[in-house]
Subunit: 412 residues, 2 copies
Amino acid sequence: MLQKTPVRPVYLDANATTRLDPLALEAMLPFLKGEFGNPSSLHGHGQPAKAVLGRARAAVAALIGAEESEIVFTSGGTEANNAAILSALATQEGRDEIVTSAVEHPAVLALCAHLAQSRGIKVHVIPVDGCGRLDMEAYRAALGPKTALASIMWANNETGTLFPVEELADLAHEAGALFHTDAVQAAGRVPVRLSAVAADFLSLSAHKFHGPKGVGALFVRKGTAFSPLIRGGKQERGRRAGTENVAGIAGLGAAASLAAWHLLTDSDRIAGLRDRLEAGIAELFPHATVLGDTSNRLPNTASIAFDKVDGEGLLVLLAQMGVAVSGGSACASGMMEPSHVLKAMKLKTDLLFGAVRFSLSRDNDAEDIERALAALPAAMDKLCGPTPFRRAVEEAAAALHPAPRASLRKVA
Amino acid sequence: MLQKTPVRPVYLDANATTRLDPLALEAMLPFLKGEFGNPSSLHGHGQPAKAVLGRARAAVAALIGAEESEIVFTSGGTEANNAAILSALATQEGRDEIVTSAVEHPAVLALCAHLAQSRGIKVHVIPVDGCGRLDMEAYRAALGPKTALASIMWANNETGTLFPVEELADLAHEAGALFHTDAVQAAGRVPVRLSAVAADFLSLSAHKFHGPKGVGALFVRKGTAFSPLIRGGKQERGRRAGTENVAGIAGLGAAASLAAWHLLTDSDRIAGLRDRLEAGIAELFPHATVLGDTSNRLPNTASIAFDKVDGEGLLVLLAQMGVAVSGGSACASGMMEPSHVLKAMKLKTDLLFGAVRFSLSRDNDAEDIERALAALPAAMDKLCGPTPFRRAVEEAAAALHPAPRASLRKVA
């Protein structure tokens, strides 16, 4: 049943990170070679760097329907999330509560937990239902005159579930609170229009849409008070100090422009590949469950729970077969406790440990999907093979269903 | 007197930023091309990234005489400075004072000013003398049972003056306080040995020693309590969240190794070039003053005050002639107010606006220095030419000293 590692690896882990687009690298290279000037310098060496910061700012603003002056470059999504939350607390006297969801990224939840513990900030963690949808009643009830910020992600990293950010922003504003959305998984994957969504802050990260790692942006709506996370020089109009990551920002800008284009050209194709993957899995493993809000999610994400299967073990075996997937958020992986997102969705224990996230990008094609589908039964066999529990289940299953791969179907 | 722009520009602004070493770029490129994995991923795509983080950590540790586990990668020197200061306040109940110097970088001073204003933190700003040397009596007197942190730079960015960090760290510890040093201008330029200097925190930035912009490191001594500035995932052993800037860190690591080598091979040569520059300037402009502690400073920095000259104007003219220098720290440039460093040194007004910083790197050679020396009189002529004040001075001077360029000598 063992399968040889394919020559070209199949990468289905785009929600962890994506390949840097060669065109984004092209945009970076001048600033890693001849154009090394500091954008703050008065002499000419800094001018190409200063100019590319402007171009990148325009490209990022265009991707999310913002104005250039509303874009603050950061070292990534985590910094952007931290900056938004801390700023909202620092700028609003008398408001010291945060409303967030149980399925946010650790970049939001870990900071909120720290603020609760160290500063006594009251954090309302809004639950989700079994499909990962926010409890709107609880959200409404948590908002109040003490709310500094509601921070709800645009799309969940593990299930792809989309949140009703337009409504959530309006509700936060009705309570006089600011609204932040972590759009790290949404930007470049679904249309993000800040003209329609009245968010005050939005975070994005270049490496989730084929830009470089270590660079991102925080949108700060014009007129929203802002208190910087990192202080020093006057870079980013005083909103984020430190010599700019010029090459990284150039790459972010190029990646944003490319993402805006591919959003138009590749979204349906990616959703089609995802659907084909899910259909194939359903055929192979009828007891597998698609997690999240399947009617309202990112086009690239398939979160599948295999019943009574060790998902971490499965992904390691798939990796050995050249198929890269994830068993939860990359930040949580390496730890053996189940994902906080799936726990919040109250998955039953049999499914909780069997979740595997397949996340696609424009780099994927139909062959990738077929190869993943070919690898899955082999990996499952290997995973299930040696344990006495598995053998007992398989024997019982074989007695009932003598068809090929029946054991797998039964087990899954 | 106008001079054509030379073919190869003369870059003497290394304290603002340096050219990325081509070997550092070579170290980065694999992570901008094929190896795009997330170091946190369990599958193989993340392994090369994870491995390079380890190599870079070892290289940075070696550059400063630290252990690998003591290195936390950051987005640069400013973030590292902010993290150290805020951590020292967060981890020491009952200690809420900071001792720092009047000549620190804005990455320290702007944060301290904010903490004083927003949180009532008492900040003792220790003065310097006319050579930029710290007032040791005032430093000793400011330290006490309330001191959370003393933060004194290893070397000043504008004058190159070195601070007695070994003694300063010991004095801070005698008061029970932590000690941080901003070594952004020192790392890679002078030996930095954390085995000899008992600092608890040290900040460095890759782009000051021929690494990429947007990446740096904070040294956190083993056993020193640390509260992260940026929270979320478990990266950097929980000390700095966010997907790592893998390519940037690879470049930082290579740059650190190269810097350690060039420190041995190029320091004397660079100091020789700097001395030749200063000798040439002294000959051309006998009234020019070398600023800082000339007996104890970085080998690469020449901070020169030209008497009654508009330093900003001079650097713009030099830039037009292809010679890049700075008129203060890059972060302060663009603003017409004089550098806080030179103000702290109580320079008389005639010199305060006439300071120009020449900062060299291993990329410079003797030809650069001769071309800078050739450009200076021409730039000065152009700068001094048009104003009625200049003309009056020149006429008076010409009457007294009819020798060629006498006017320049007199003016300067």
